[in-house]
Amino acid sequence: MKRYFGKVFVAAIVLVFAVSMMPGAGLAADTIKLGVAGAHSGDLASYGIPSVKAAELVVKDVNAKGGILGKKVVLLVEDDVCKPEVATSTATKLLSQGVDVVMGHICSGATKAALGIYKAENIICMAPSATNPALTQSGDYPNFYRTIASDDAQARLEVDYALDVLKAKKIAVLHDKGDYGKGLAEFAKSFIEQDPRAEVVLYEGVTPGAVDYSAVVQKIRRSKADAVIFGGYHPEASKIIMQMRKKRMKTVFISDDGVKDDTFIKVAGKYAEGVYATGPRDTSSNPLAIAAIEAHKKAYGADPGAFFLNAYAATQALLNAIEKAGSTDYDAVSKALKTEYVETPLGKIKFDNKGDATGIGFSIYQVQNGKYVELK
C-alpha cells in the first residue's frame, strides 16, 4: 500500500511538471494570439502607439461578441523601437510566445528585418504603415500583407502634383538615407527623369539627426530648384524646412506620410505653413471610420494618431480571414485574405497576390493655418 502511494505521488509530480512546462500549448487551444509589433517607444512612438490602441479596440469588440471561432483573441504587444536589429528579437519573442498572426511592424526597415523570421515559421504579418515597395513587389515575402499603399504610389502622386499642378521644372530630391525615405526618393527621381517636363537638379541623402543642414540648404538654393521632394520622417523634414525658411527661401516643399504627422506642424510651427505632404486618403466620411474614431475618443479621451485606421483595418482583416478560414492555418488564412472582402474603416478591401490591399490610396495634403488639409 505504501509503495503504491509513492508511485501515485511521483506520477502526480511528473504530471504537474509536465503541465507547467507547456503553458503555451495549454493556452493556445482556447485563444487566438494576435501579435502587435512596432515602435511603441523612442523617436517614432507616435506612429506605433496608435496601432496598439486600434488593435485593443478591435479585439475588445470581437471578444465582446464571443471571439473568433469561439476563441477569445489575446494581444501580444511587443516594442521594436523602429530598429531592424531590435525587430528581429521582437519577432523571435512573439514566436516563442506562440503568436498566430502579427499586425505590424510600423517602419519598413524593422518590418523587413522581422519578416524573414516570420516567414520561416509560416506566420502571416500585416503592416499598417510599412510602405517600402520591395516588401510586396520583390515576391520574397509571401507571408506579408499591408493596409497601406506602397511608396511608389506616394512618389507617383508627389511627382504628378509637382509637375501638373505646381508646374515645377527643376526639382531637388532629398532623402534621409533610410529604407523608407531613400526608397521613396529613388522612385520620385526615376518618375521625374521619365518625364520631359522637368529635371532632377539635385539628388542627395542627408545625415539624420545632424545639428545643422545649412550646407544642404545652400546647395538647394544654388541648384535653383522650384520644388523640393523629401523622402523621410518629420524630425529631419522640420529641420530642413525651418532652415530653408530662415534663409529666406520660398521653395515649395513636398514630402510623404512620414511627415504628414501633427508633430511636424507642432515643431516647425509657422515654417510648416504651405508644406505639401502625401498621406492616406481621407476616410472621414466612412461610417466605420467615424465609429472607430468615436470608440477611440471614448476609450482614451483623445483623437487617434497616425495610421490608426490602417491598423484598425489590418486587425479586422486578419481576424476576418481567420474566421473565414476556420483556423489559424497559414495556407487557409492566406487564401481567405486574398479572396474574402472585409468591411473596414478604409473601405471594402481584400489583398492582391503580392499582398497589397486593393482600394487603398493616397491624397495630397497641405498645411494651412496649422492643420493638414486634404487637397481635392
Binding site: V211, A215, V216, Q218, K219, K247
Partner: protein, 300 residues
Amino acid sequence: MDYFLELFLGGLTRGSIYALIALGYTMVYGIIGLINFAHGEIYMIGAFTALIVISVLTLMGMNTLAILVIAGVIAVIYSSAYGYTVEKIAYKPLRNAPRLSALISAIGMSLFLQNYVLLAQTSDFLPFPCLIPDFEFMEPYAHIIGSTEIVILITTAVVMVLLTIMIKFTKIGKAMRATSQDKTMAMLVGINVNRVISVTFIVGSATAAIGGVLIASHVGMINFYVGFIAGIKAFVAAVLGGIGSIPGAVLGSFILGWTESFATGYVSSDYEDVFAFLFLVLILIFRPAGILGRSEKYKI
C-alpha cells in the same frame, strides 16, 4: 565665390556648435583623463531646463531678452548641479580604479540620463522657440547667415577666451594645470584635488548648458536623444584638435564643421560623415595626439 562663402559660414556655425560641446569634453579629459560620455546628456538637460523655464516665463508674459537671459542662467545652474552630482556619484568612487571602469561608468551615466529624461519628460520632439530675434541690420545677409548663428559664433569665441584666461591666469586655473600634470604631486603641495575636479565638471557643464540653449534655439527642436548625437560629433572634434587642449577643441570643431560643409557643398551630403571621419583618420596618422595635442610619454 558667394557659394564658397556661404558654405564657409555654414561650416563655421556648425563648427561653433560642436565647439560649445567639445570644450567640456576636452576640459574634463585634460584634468582627469576621462572621456565623459555623459557630457552630451548634460547639454541635453540644459536645453530641456531652458525649455521648461521658457514655457513658464512666456506664460507670465516677459519680454524675449529677459526670458533668454533667465532661461540661460537657470539652465547653467541646473546643468552644473547635474555635472557636479554625476562626478560625485559615478566618477569619484572610481578615481583610483583602472581608467576603463570610469569610462564604462560614464557610458552608463549617459544611458541613465537619456532614459531618465525620456521617462520624466517625453519621447516626442518638442518645439524649442527661437529666442534670438532677427536683427534688422542682418536682413540683407539673412540668406547667408542668421542672427542665431552669429550669436552662437560670438558666444563660442567668448567662452573660449574666458576659459583660456581662467586656466592661464587664475589661482584655480593654476591648480587645474597642476592636477592635470600630476595628481599625486598636486595633492602633496596642498592642492585640494577633489575640489579642482568638481570645479572642472561645473565649468564644463556650464558651457554645455549654454550650448544647449543656443543650439536648441538654432535647431528649433529637442528630444531626449539630441545630446547623444551632438556629443559624439563634438567628441570627434575634440580628438581631432587634440583632446585635453582648449584651443585645440575649438580648432578641431571648426575643421570638422568645414569638412562637413564643403563635403556636402562640393561633393554630396551622402558622404558628409565619410569625409569627416576620413579627415580624422588622416590627421591622427600624422599627428596621433591631434592637431594641438601634446603627446605624453609614459614611463614604465
